[in-house]
């Protein structure tokens, strides 16, 4: 009698008891609907993930940050959710002023040797103590290429998320009031939670 359940099932489906087969059908439809819903949810997750872009801005050089900002603002206007992670030298590109309080000697030195705000970033090559950066800026102006200050501002309007790396902020002793407004802080897991769900991750 152990096999009764299975046998009776076969019996009912082959002999065509409409009541039981209807129930079976409904059960099957229910399962299929459930599976379909699961698939739909997975698909919408995938589509949503394709809609995100994560960029790590490690460099604090004007040319590199410019590249990052152009990709970021471009992607944001294409309707992508963009998050920018500023770490190490990259923190210089969201710095608005220099403050020396709450810093130890090394951090003070570091702060003095680094640009005091994002308008004074060096070029990655041929900087010549700032002369190269000045030349590049005037060349950009000639060609009507907008500077990073403007792109960062417009990025905010487009909803780009700016995230400063908590760890490098602490190592370098950078205070929150030195960075521009609207910058969040986060660690590696915060970054990974964005990056792993992104269609594109760039390290600049």
């Amino acid at each position: 009698m152990n096999n009764l359940g299975e046998n009776s099932k076969v019996h009912t489906s082959t002999s065509g008891y409409s009541f039981t087969s209807n129930e079976e059908l409904q059960e099957k439809i229910k399962n299929l609907e459930q599976e379909l819903n699961d698939l739909k949810n997975q698909l919408s997750d995938i589509i949503q993930n394709k809609n995100k872009v994560a960029i790590v801005v490690f460099s604090g050089d004007i040319d590199r940050v410019l590249a990052a900002m152009i990709i970021a603002t471009g992607a944001a206007s294409f309707g992508k959710e963009v998050s920018l992670f500023f770490t190490f030298w990259g923190l210089n590109s969201i710095k608005v002023k220099r403050k020396l309080n709450n810093k130890n000697l090394n951090q003070k030195l570091f702060s003095i040797l680094n640009p005091n705000n994002f308008s004074n970033l060096p070029v990655s090559k041929m900087n010549f103590f700032g002369l190269g950066a000045m030349m590049l800026k005037s060349m950009m102006k000639n060609k009507n290429v907008s500077g990073i200050e403007y792109l960062i501002k417009i990025g905010k309007e487009l909803g780009i998320k700016y995230i400063a790396c908590e760890m490098s902020k602490e190592v370098l002793g950078i205070n929150d009031d030195e960075l521009m407004e609207g910058v969040e802080s986060g660690g590696v897991s915060y970054f990974l939670s964005h990056a792993l769900n992104s269609a594109m991750t760039i390290f600049i």
């Binding site: 152009i70 603002t73 471009g74 944001a76 206007s77 294409f78 290429v145 417009i154 309007e157 487009l158």
Partner: protein
């Protein structure tokens, strides 16, 4: 060609013509046509890529003209779906 909204992106470089257009698109109700005038040569390919990626817009027409100063301008007509 008729249009509802004009975006003057003359003198702006990549990616600002797209950024400005997107800002107008966000404000505009659907069914409106936006005319973009740009001097950035890359805007031709940029708007084609934009239309490919953004399913809510359609690139209706692209033209190259000369403005009153003899400078080449690139005109794009975009429909917000």
């Amino acid at each position: 060609m008729n249009y509802d909204i004009l975006v003057d992106a003359r003198g702006l470089s990549c990616p600002l013509p797209i950024v400005r257009t997107k800002q107008e698109l966000n404000k505009a109700p659907s069914g409106k046509i936006i005319k973009v005038i740009a001097t950035d040569k890359g805007s031709i390919k940029d708007f084609q890529g934009f239309a490919n990626l953004d399913k809510n817009i359609e690139l209706l027409k692209q033209e190259t003209e000369k403005d009153e100063n003899g400078q080449e301008v690139y005109i794009h007509y975009i429909l917000k779906k």
